[in-house]
Amino acid sequence: MEFEKYSLLELVDMLKSKKVSSEELTSYFIAQIEKKKNLNAVIEVFEDALSKAKEADIKIKNNENGKLLGIPVIIKDNILYKGKVCSCSSRFLENYVAQYNSTVVEKLLREGAVIIGRANMDEFAMGGSTENSAFGITHNALDYDRVPGGSSGGSAVAVAGGLCPVSLGTDTGGSVRQPCSYNGIVGIKPTYGRISRYGVVAFASSLEQVGPMTKTVKDNAYMLEILSGKSEFDETSSKEKVEDYLSAIKGKIQGLRIGVCKEIIESVKGMEVEKPFLEVINWLKDQGATLVDVSLPDYNLSLACYYIIAPAEATSNLGRFDGIKYSRRSEDAKNVDEIYIKSRSEGFGKEVKRRIMLGNFVLSSGYFDAYYNKAKKIQIKLKKQTEELFRKCDVVLSPTTGSVAFKLGSKNSDPVSMYKEDRFTIISNILGIPSLTLPFAKGEKDLPLGLQIMANSFKEGTIYNLADFIENNWEVK
């Protein structure tokens, strides 16, 4: 049986009704990973995956419950799973073994998931193409010569390439949504605080969230409910009640107020995605939604704000990698200063170093007010403009990216052009609002383009309802 053709929800049913065992399913996907090794999406298949699947089968036999009982899952290489290496795809943490579980892993295990491996990523989640991994580049699942997107490129390719039914990524500026868009799958960056970040290696703590990556919208809604909730170890995680997101999917959108944002419409002009984007908006109107003209005056400053705030936080978060406590220490360091400098210089890749330097620049004396504080003030202004915007509409639509996945190696020499790949996704991280991508059109060479749906904080249910409606009724063309 070709299990990659089934959705997560179908596989959950098949396991429950004992049409398939977890061992069969897990063996199948491990064989798929081996078969598609050239994609380099998975860094490690955990050696205990099959024994965990057998344990799940015993639980299924005993009619025990678990929303993911027996389901194989792949996690991004920056999410801690006790006893397993978590390297952030960096030489620095190559041999780092997690000593405790992240909250998301606890939640997966509590529901009976079988975590089968860890996915390749841009080193420390910094990048948009998974070309910055110390363990080699990952290839797009649909076109071997193109990037998978990033930083959660391995996680996206794992789902799109049929290596697992669901994976976890993290999204600091678009790192779940952009690779999902490039590989034609569904991914969400939830509201900031919806999912606990405890046990996820920090890059820019005030911006990032874990997000599930799936083949369908319903699969995604199912996963978000499992992963969400307050953690006592993460003060920034939210106590807001976790919805049953599947129930929020009603199959109709009458009366839904869709915001058509002036600045987004201006930004897409001339891009590959422009035509289908405008078409889908008009189609939604025909389906009973109300279109509302809205504006976010400082929208275009979000990219600049991000490349100040994110490196500033990264600089601080990566300060802990000193060659003393974690994993790597330069062998020829003779004193403590040399341990710091040599270990960091040998352990980090170029993009990580670039962002640490940039972070130190915006935080350093003389520039702090002009850059960091100014960016934080614009962020506050943008949040106020967003409050105003969501009084007028329920969701805002945007493309996820301007065009299909770009060719491997084509943007490596120009960091700014790489950074601009996130121009449509970054706004949700700056605002802390939820944002989902689903495939909705085909561009060059029939490769997928993603549509992004954003809503006010904790309105993931509204997003899933609209996304599911589009997935089931709009013809991808």
């Binding site: 000593q99 405790y100 006592e232 600089t315 003779k334 040599k342 960091r344 350093s364 003030k377």
Partner: protein, 96 residues
């Protein structure tokens, strides 16, 4: 616009506890200038009326400060490249 020169890049590498060859340092110059050019857009925004608030998140819901089981010393030291008698080990820092 702030112009990057070699001295500035060297200052940042020192603040970052990173060391580069001259060639690498030079390669950062045009890259940083391009990045700076992009982020300088923020200067166009008027933020005179905006006040910063710290801390940004709500800190009145902290869990009770109570001793509880934590990682063992062994677990904490597991990932350290060099340990000695239950401690992180580093080269001698003070002169004899």
């Amino acid at each position: 616009m702030k112009k990057f020169d070699l001295a500035e890049v060297k200052r940042l590498s020192s603040l970052s506890a990173l060391r580069f060859s001259e060639e690498e340092l030079n390669s950062f110059l045009p890259e940083f200038e391009n990045i700076l050019e992009m982020v300088e857009q923020i200067k166009s925004a008027n933020t005179d009326e905006v006040e910063l608030k710290y801390p940004e998140c709500d800190l009145d819901d902290l869990r009770e400060d109570k001793a509880r089981e934590s990682l063992s010393v062994q677990e904490v030291l597991t990932n350290s490249p060099k340990t000695r008698k239950g401690c992180f080990s580093v080269p001698q820092m003070l002169e004899d």
